[in-house]
């Protein structure tokens, strides 16, 4: 348990956290404003990863690939919103679960149809495959890029929501959508835009994660479920809550996986620690969520409801 290991794990946790935030930001707004449950958000993440894999593979440029991912996310998000999602807002949550579950099956199978079951790999972009040294400790440059992009999106979304007219409407819509609609604001258009923006961010998350993960069908679901955990912990509908919760979940998961088995070896016999440590570590974020929901059902940082 050295200091550099701890620092590396903290950075890994931060990097995982900002990736989760990219996914959670759009999802929590759609949850909060239209109270729409979107299980297909992970599919947009997957499509973003495939877009970057295909375009980077063809052109050799990761930047172009990331742009393609953003475009894919926006277009597919808009399509989904107009074809299916907008028809479901007034229904109850069960219909949302059902419809988006169907979409998950559809997208997973379509990607498998086109690109096959084998995972695709994305080469790290030129110039970012090296490491950066800080305080005599090295860390991959690309992971710094992920952290930087995530923090930039966090700052950008905070500006969008707290400093612009659109953001004001979004905040108002999350408190009382009927009233905002009655005041003459096209709340449907507003939500369609938000949905597309959220989809683009999810695709961006997929694009950023693609070089450090393998790109394959079904990759969206594990991260989707963790994102749901983030949203519930942060408080549904709250973007700043999603940010804090994403960092908390990212750090908890990463540090838990590293230190929990080590910690358990101090208290229990080696056999028990080896068996229970990883088990407990993989359950940690869900345990965290269950505790948060049991104690504070509205989440840790809820959006202010009037």
């Amino acid at each position: 348990m050295t200091f550099s290991l701890l620092l590396a794990q903290l950075l890994n946790g931060l990097q995982y956290g900002v990736l989760l935030f990219l996914l959670a930001a759009g999802l929590t707004l759609v949850f909060g404003i239209m109270s729409f449950v979107n299980l297909a958000h992970g599919s947009l993440y997957m499509l973003g990863a495939y877009a970057v894999a295909v375009v980077t593979g063809a052109t050799g440029s990761f930047a172009l690939g990331a742009l393609a991912a953003l475009a894919t996310g926006t277009v597919v998000g808009m399509l989904l919103e107009s074809v299916a999602v907008s028809r479901l807002y007034r229904r109850d949550h069960l219909d949302h679960v059902l419809a988006t579950f169907g979409l998950v099956l559809f997208f997973n199978e379509v990607t498998r149809m086109i690109w096959g079951p084998q995972p695709l790999f994305v080469a790290l972009p030129e110039g970012l495959s090296g490491t950066i040294e800080i305080f005599g400790f090295t860390y991959p440059a690309y992971r710094f890029l992920i952290i930087a992009v995530g923090l930039a999106v966090a700052v950008g979304s905070s500006w969008l929501i707290h400093r612009t007219r659109v953001g004001m409407l979004v905040r108002a819509g999350s408190v009382n959508p009927q009233m905002v609609g009655a005041l003459g604001v096209n709340i449907r258009l507003l939500n369609a835009m938000l949905f597309a923006l959220g989809a683009a961010l999810a695709a961006l998350a997929g694009a950023m994660a693609a070089p450090i993960l393998s790109v394959q069908s079904g990759m969206g679901e594990p991260v989707l479920i963790t994102t749901l955990v983030v949203i519930v912990i942060g408080g549904i509908g709250s973007v700043s809550g999603a940010f804090y919760a994403a960092i908390i979940v990212g750090l908890t998961d990463t540090l838990g996986r590293t230190y929990l088995p080590l910690l358990m070896r101090e208290f229990a016999s080696r056999d028990i620690a080896n068996a229970a440590g990883p088990a407990l570590a993989s359950m940690l974020v869900y345990l965290l969520m269950a505790v948060v929901l049991a104690v504070r059902p509205q989440g840790l940082f809820p959006a202010h409801k009037g």
């Binding site: 069960l94 679960v97 059902l98 579950f101 559809f106 955990v229 549904i236 929901l293």
Partner: protein, 334 residues
């Protein structure tokens, strides 16, 4: 006890009667595949019926029922791993584990409602899933083969026919029980709570206790389906605890008809039947199936049971009949 048959019930009853004869026909035709396939259908019908107690009657959208299916499976697999083939031990393990886990998770989950309830049930199921995946000494990711089937006083669930028979009887018993439960005070309270929790509370009923009971019942019954599935496959794997399975169970219930007596059975038959047909048609059946589920969600929730009951229900146009109760139940005022 009111058990008069309506025309809407005719199709499922005939289907059930057909299924009673199926193993004999399959044996005569020397096609054991059909017995195994329909045993699976029956088992999923039991699981869907179990989910229907929470989802259909209580309106509790649990996206975590695969957890109980998995607990049931491992209630057979773990004792069998240690050489215990006694079915009563398996049954006790199943009822105890599903009951306790259902009570604990249900207690915590019912403190929330709406989206948070869906998420927390999902989270509990994921906890179970990751727990089993990380238990490497019991197969972990790969699951574990079951060498000894459950044995009840010499009656062993080792053959497909035996599992089929038990599953069939259990499903019939459950269906009759649900038909009575729906109109019993317990069921009526649950259904009323689904439509308007505040009014039920103002009548003076502690709705959450009814909901918790329904959730635990649903969990234990789902565990029984898991036990049968483990015996049928002679195999238990964490993949049957994945959230996809929870989603599939919800699809079965909604496809068949939420809250109806025969709905989950019809839904399981339709789900696995469509799956099998599409599989023969294309390797990528899941893409078509996904769109089908989307269509079901967009069209409404009366399901197959609602479709069958429609001609005798009212003279309202086809589309309205399915939509009107949906708006009323979701609490949305048009």
């Amino acid at each position: 006890m009111r058990m008069s048959l309506r025309t809407g019930d005719l199709v499922p009853v005939v289907l059930l009667a057909g299924l009673a004869l199926l193993p004999f026909a399959a044996a005569a035709a020397d096609e054991p595949f059909f017995t195994t396939f329909f045993a699976r259908v029956l088992i999923y019908a039991i699981a869907a019926t179990a989910l229907n107690v929470a989802l259909g009657l209580g309106g509790l959208v649990s996206l975590g029922h695969a957890l109980f299916l998995g607990l049931g499976m491992y209630s057979v697999a773990l004792p069998a791993h240690f050489g215990i083939a006694n079915g009563w031990v398996h049954l006790a393990a199943c009822v105890a584990s599903c009951g306790v886990v259902g009570l604990l998770t249900g207690y915590v989950s019912l403190r929330t409602s709406g989206i948070a309830f869906i998420m927390i049930t999902l989270a509990f199921a994921q906890m179970g899933y990751f727990l089993v995946v990380s238990l490497k000494q019991f197969g972990g990711d790969d699951g574990m083969a079951i060498s000894a089937a459950s044995e009840f006083f010499g009656f062993s669930l080792s053959s497909g026919n035996a599992v089929y028979g038990v599953a069939f009887c259990l499903l019939v018993a459950l269906t009759v029980w649900i038909a009575r439960l729906r109109s019993a005070p317990f069921g009526v309270t649950l259904r009323a709570g689904r439509q308007n929790a505040r009014r039920v509370a103002s009548v003076g009923l502690a709705l959450s206790r009814y909901q918790l009971t329904a959730y635990v019942l649903s969990a234990v019954l789902c565990g029984l389906a898991g036990m049968l599935l483990a015996n049928l496959n002679a195999y238990a794997s964490p993949s049957s605890m994945s959230w996809m399975v929870s989603g599939e169970l919800i699809v079965m219930v909604v496809l068949g008809g939420m809250g109806s007596v025969f709905g989950p059975f019809l839904g399981a038959v339709a789900f696995l039947g469509i799956e099998e047909v599409l599989k023969a048609f294309t390797e990528h059946w899941m893409a078509l199936f996904g769109l089908l589920i989307l269509g079901v969600a967009l069209l409404g929730k009366a399901g197959i049971a609602g479709l069958l009951a429609r001609p005798i229900r009212s003279n309202s146009p086809a589309g309205r009949g399915a939509k009107a109760p949906l708006l009323a139940e979701s609490g949305v005022r048009p």
